[in-house]
């Protein structure tokens, strides 16, 4: 059995002040960066403890949301990739149909995998409907974009003969590749929550 500790890094001090939705539309005057820093450190400390206890670590992301102040799932992982030594690191995950540049995602994940010496688990998500507004991506063809980005990320991580050309429906690249190729023979094990 594998055990994972997951936290959305909530900014809960804002909750009593929120009128209406906790997501997307809340004003950031309800966010105190000093308290925010204390909370980020608390969550990172918890994850560091996980490494000592042998509990694997999972991050996710939402945008402009008081219940999840982790807006880039690879940022806490970038800290933990060096701060931890043993456990698996699961970034589940990047809403890749909402990201403009899949190669950038491949680069971020590859760096995490290399710095952590091969402990990354990749997770990609379609994203919930309220993620559409912050990214302003077209929901009508989101799944097509998700799979095109998915294939492109894996190709960038597993192509070792220099840049490749790609002219897809959603993304086109003259020179696609990422230098920090993944540690694993193939790309790290992927979890596709969009399926």
């Amino acid at each position: 059995m594998k055990v994972w500790h997951f936290s959305e890094m909530a900014y809960h001090p804002a909750w009593p002040e929120v009128r209406g939705s906790y997501r997307v539309v809340i004003p950031n005057r309800l966010y105190d960066p000093k308290i925010g820093a204390d909370l980020y450190h608390r969550y990172l400390d918890e994850w560091a403890l996980c490494d000592e206890l042998g509990i694997n670590i999972m991050t996710n992301e939402h945008h402009a949301t008081a219940t999840c102040a982790d807006s880039v799932c690879t940022i806490p992982m970038a800290i933990l990739a060096r701060e931890t030594k043993k456990v698996r690191l699961l970034a589940l995950g990047m809403p890749i149909g909402n990201r403009n540049d899949p190669i950038r995602v491949a680069e971020e994940y590859s760096m995490l995998d290399v710095i952590s010496r091969g402990r990354l688990e990749m997770g990609f998500v379609k994203g919930v409907p309220f993620e559409i507004s912050p990214a302003n991506t077209n929901p009508a063809d989101l799944m097509d974009r998700f799979w095109e980005a998915h294939d492109l990320i894996l190709k960038a991580m597993t192509t070792h003969d220099g840049p490749f050309r790609l002219g897809g429906d959603a993304f086109s690249l003259p020179l696609g590749q990422c230098l920090a190729a993944a540690v694993a023979e193939a790309a790290p094990a992927g979890l596709d929550a969009g399926r």
């Binding site: 559409i132 507004s133 302003n136 991506t137 077209n138 929901p139 009508a140 063809d141």
Partner: protein, 259 residues
Amino acid sequence: MERIQIGDVSLGVSTAGVGRPLLFLHGGDYFTQHQGFLQILAGRWRVLIPRHPGFGGSERPDWFRSVHDLAYLYLDLLDHQGLSDVVLVGSSFGGWLALEMCIRSVERISRLALIDTLGVKFGGREQRDIADIYALPADEVLQRTFFAPERAAPDYSRLDDAEAVSIASDRAATALYGWRPYMHDPGLRRWLHRVRVPTLVLWGQSDGIVPSDYGERLCRSLPDARFELILAAGHYPQIEQPEQVADAIERFGRAEVKP
């Protein structure tokens, strides 16, 4: 509804009436509520009413995904049917398509009527010309859409599955074509001088989606257009005041062409 094959698009087109051809291009929503208006038109013209690919269960090939595709499709439809002296009428999103057609060719079109049309951006970077129906609460969108929402909007709880699916696919297709840039073509404004056809710009006085001052600005941007306000109507005046809109189109459509 008849199926007309144009390239690899199987286009669903309703036709009715006799006489001079009138092509009506519908907007993004409330298609069912157009029946009264379209019946009046069919008593006066030979009306062609295509359902845009992707809307209301009509097929859309994967490659077909922009207003430009729609514009060329409907120009091809006019060629395919051998139509000339066409009165082209577009409402809302359909008006945008009509403009995209006319900047490309007015060869077969002799009159253009635009009803609460969008598709053009006049304002600056931080100015919203067209209300964002995807960001506003549903109730506010409804209030902005109609002069009398309680009379015009359907009771969604009473729809059968087929009707509900049809409305959902209309909305999905509208998003597909119009999500970003939001409901406009950034280049269109610069080519409006090519709409070289007498144009009537009709506008619902209470339109809260694209207000009437946008309509007046659109009218001033066209080479040969005049503006007419429809009272007690919102974004779809042909739903709330069908006789008035049909009469305005008839007066304009039958008037002598200026030398």
